[in-house]
Symmetry: C2
Subunit: 83 residues, 2 copies
């Protein structure tokens, strides 16, 4: 069965995020003064063939550990869409 999986990879808390800072400044310049603490990472969507949702999640986590995320500088979250 194919499960749709959403992965979010973001820079670890405490690490500098220049892209996020640039976007925050741009938001402020556009008048969005209520925005703060902007962090920018990657949103990855994929389809995973697996026997169960738990299995799909485990495979997606393995993909993050091996390729999708840098364990030194990034945190990731995996969400499997309910069918």
């Amino acid at each position: 069965m194919a499960f749709k999986v959403h992965v979010r990879v973001v820079p670890r808390a405490g690490l500098l995020d220049p892209q996020g800072q640039a976007v925050e400044h741009a938001l402020t310049a556009l008048g969005f003064r209520e925005a703060s603490g902007v962090r920018i990472g990657k949103a990855i969507e994929l389809s995973v063939d697996a026997a169960s949702a738990d299995d799909a999640r485990a495979r997606a986590r393995a993909m993050c550990d091996k390729l999708l995320a840098n364990p030194v500088t990034e945190d990731y979250e995996v969400e499997v869409e309910a069918r």
Copy 2:
């Protein structure tokens, strides 16, 4: 009150996503043959000062329309974290 907001910006369905294709090939090469349809976009986290969660969502959508997403090539989703 400050609400934590997660924004996901991904290339529109049907549009070419070379970065996603490259990652899909790399996953296959690593043995993850169960992965397909990889799409890569931006994951944006920010804090929004607003009177209510609905208000925070509306402001975040305005930010997407004005700056965070390209309406021609990208779709976005806004999630406000429950407090």
